[in-house]
């Protein structure tokens, strides 16, 4: 137990140092070293996680988790914002894979459709229109890189230790049997069951979410319309538009 805590603390230290080195700080120096340190930290953390049982499950999980976390770190540390968005897209794909792993097919597809298909592409649009060449001074500098790296990684360390303690020390409750899971969240008619759940128990919440979406749509339209140059408007409308037959 003591051993495990030492390793976690070491991983946290190395991880925050690595992340700090990788974050944009003006120059290019230390990025590779930072990446190496972060990988070591990741390995140390991985050595402290419980095994999943079979090799296939272990391998698939490890690959997906690695893609997710590495892409997340790259998304945060890349200089070019377009690359940030692409790495975040890879994070999303990794997350979708993890959702598939726990049997949440609908979530996996919905995440890709909504996040990758709509949100991220509109981000890319705004990015490309705003700074098509993708080079800006403020992307090469960070606010308080050291402080935020330490904060974030220490948070991860604390969460990990807490999760480990809470899940191992007293078994929180009996894990469900494989057969029960097969009949439950992994059942073949997964979407139908999820739909029944959504539109049965959570009907009011669905309605509220729909209203929220509509409100957001209207709000976005209003915000965009207000920023518009009014002079441009007048040109498009009456003053200059007199068609001559």
């Amino acid at each position: 137990m003591k051993d495990s805590h030492t390793i976690w603390i070491l991983a946290t230290l190395l991880g925050s140092l690595g992340l700090w080195l990788m974050l944009p700080r003006g120059g290019r120096r230390g990025r590779l070293a930072g990446a190496a340190l972060a990988v070591v930290a990741l390995g140390l953390a991985a050595s402290q996680t419980p095994r999943l049982g079979t090799w296939t499950a272990e391998g698939i999980f490890a690959a997906l988790a690695l893609v997710t976390v590495v892409a997340a770190a790259a998304a945060v540390t890349c200089r070019n914002p377009v690359y940030c968005a692409i790495w975040f897209g890879l994070t999303l794909l990794g997350t979708a894979g993890l959702f598939l792993l726990v049997g949440a097919q609908f979530l996996a597809a919905a995440t890709v459709v909504v996040y990758a298909g709509a949100i991220l592409v509109t981000f890319l649009f705004v990015l490309m229109l705003a700074q098509p060449e993708g080079k800006a001074a403020y992307d090469r500098a960070s606010w308080e890189a050291m402080l935020s790296a330490v904060t974030g990684v220490v948070l991860i360390g604390v969460l990990s230790i807490t999760v480990g303690g809470a899940l191992t020390a007293p078994p929180p409750e009996a894990a469900p049997s494989a057969a029960a899971v097969q009949a439950g969240v992994l059942r073949p008619q997964h979407v139908a069951a999820l739909g029944t759940e959504l539109f049965g128990r959570h009907l009011i919440a669905i309605q509220i979410a729909g209203t929220l979406l509509l409100t957001a749509l209207v709000g976005a339209a209003v915000i965009i319309a207000q920023g518009k140059n009014t002079k441009t408007d007048s040109i498009n409308s009456k003053e200059l538009k007199t068609d001559e037959e």
Binding site: T91, V102, V153, L167, V181, A220
Partner: protein, 149 residues
């Protein structure tokens, strides 16, 4: 440790990592859109944890919550992107530092630290064409009348 519990444990760790990395990005990046991406990443971390709990508890509740998270994230993206576009129109810059006038009265103003020159950025070696799209000098009476059609 049984396999289901181990899966939950590992997924919670991944969720925590996503949340933490997203937090770092939100705290330290200066590009408005990258900050926003980092915030979405934190939401993803929470979603992973919720889906893991849903599997462990053998209950669809967690997945339903993730669906709501996705819906809220879509709303948030729409509004925030509209805001970012509006802000960009005002200042022509995606940097959050240009909005430092919104700081509290007792906070120091933002001062830009000089950045070292990026190697390779200046001496680009490929031949570059003159920029297209620059308006030629035309007399006023010949101005392109369909610019705003």
């Amino acid at each position: 440790m049984p396999a289901e519990l181990a899966l939950l444990h590992n997924l919670l760790l991944v969720g925590a990592a996503l949340f933490g990395v997203g937090l770092v990005g939100f705290l330290c990046r200066r590009n408005l859109i990258v900050m926003f991406l980092a915030a979405e990443m934190m939401l993803q971390g929470v979603s992973v944890s919720l889906a893991a709990w849903s599997r462990y508890r053998n209950d669809f509740g967690g997945q339903v919550l993730v669906i709501f998270i996705i819906a809220v994230a879509a709303c948030e993206a729409a509004v925030a992107l509209a805001l970012v576009t509006a802000l960009f129109r005002r200042r022509g810059d995606l940097d959050v530092a240009v909005w430092d006038r919104l700081r509290e009265a007792n906070q120091p103003p933002f001062t830009e630290a000089p950045l070292p020159e990026q190697p390779g950025a200046a001496g680009e070696s490929w031949p570059t064409l003159p920029p297209a799209g620059v308006a030629p000098a035309v007399p006023d009476e010949k101005v392109d009348y369909r610019r705003y059609v």
